[in-house]
């Protein structure tokens, strides 16, 4: 079911070749989709340095709840579309060494800048000057990776490269059913985070560790 639309790529599902077409319709819809993406991130506050850093300090989980909920809704939506028609699903390849090392480097940059690649663009659009430096640093970092790719690929990407691995394929369960179960688990987790109320709301009857969080 998914196999027909899987993009197999050594260097990441979206790295190789053209994604989604280069015709005017594809370019305009891509731009508009980006506008909506940027506007949602801005409205929720995901492009706020304080909200991101305080999420990573586990003091205000607003953005984490937003982000996890978006994954759950997206999963249900995508696999619903996939079950009734064509969904352009591309499962990124799984190579644990590169994914984990890349993730550790990424996480350090995330906490240091207070942005991720997408929110740095949004924050720059909002006028935040430091975000423009994060975008510039991003261009430099991507270029540095390109220049060192021949050394990094044989060490972190090629060994233990399992190609596209998705949870429904591994479990042998229908994708929409898997998406429903995963979405339910994520929503339960988000509700738990909200109920536990890390940050913002003081918990009734309990002493608060950090009185001034906002």
């Amino acid at each position: 079911m998914i196999a027909a639309t899987i993009t197999l790529a050594q260097a990441g599902s979206d790295t190789v070749g053209i994604v989604g077409g280069t015709d005017a319709r594809a370019l305009i819809l891509g731009l508009l989709t980006g506008v909506a993406f940027g506007a949602i991130l801005q409205r929720v506050g995901a492009s706020s340095y304080a909200l991101i850093v305080n999420m990573l300090r586990l003091r205000d989980l607003t953005v984490m709840k937003f982000f996890f909920l978006a994954i759950a809704v997206g999963s249900l939506g995508m696999y619903f579309v996939n079950s009734v028609g064509t969904a352009h699903i591309g499962i990124a390849p799984f190579y644990p060494l590169g994914i984990i090392v890349g993730g550790i480097i990424f996480g350090a940059g995330w906490a240091l800048s207070g942005y991720c690649p997408g929110t740095s663009l949004v924050a720059m659009g909002e006028g935040k000057v430091d975000a423009a430096f994060t975008v510039l640093g991003g261009f430099a970092g991507a270029l540095a990776l390109a220049l060192t790719w021949d050394w990094i690929k044989p060490v972190l990407v090629d060994p233990l490269n399992y190609g596209s691995q998705s949870i429904p394929d591994i479990l042998g369960v229908a994708p929409l059913l898997t998406a429903t179960v995963v979405a339910a688990i994520i929503v339960a987790f988000v509700m738990y985070l909200d109920h536990a109320g890390t940050g913002r709301r003081p918990t009734a009857g309990k002493t608060q560790d950090h009185p001034a969080r906002t």
Partner: protein
Amino acid sequence: MDLLQEQAAARKRMSWITGGILLGLLNTFAVATYGALGVSRSHVVVDGMLLRLFGSDLPSTNSYLSLVPDQADWLLMIAPGMIIGGFLAALLTGTINTRSVPRLWKSRYGNSRPKRFAAAFAGGFLLLFGARIAGGCTSGLVLSGGAQLAVSGFVFGASIFASGIITAKLLYRKQAS
């Protein structure tokens, strides 16, 4: 002042529930039309375009840059769209913010712009260097990869949160608020 402006912006924010549902629906729309949302590849494509503009042959000789397209496609257009989306949303809600140094950063590292800009630049460097090793960022691998139930998305998500939490705790150790 910073504080008043931030508080005003915070009051106008959309709830995480509304935002989460909207973003999930947007990613569903993206997958139904062309593909899942992703950002970090655009930095590589733009690098290639800029190098070509300056007459460099790296985009065709370099083993990584030669993988990405030399022209704009659907996925690339997401990036300029996000800048415009951030600008329009801020403009329409009166939350344009031209500050250089975030208030929280200021409380720990002072007013110095060069210091904050250097950290922001270094952070961006690490973000893209790491993202391109892993094959995606918070958008492509976690938001979209997670929704597509890709194993790589969940492993990358766990890695970035673990590393980000440790780094943030180190950067703000001994800080009460």
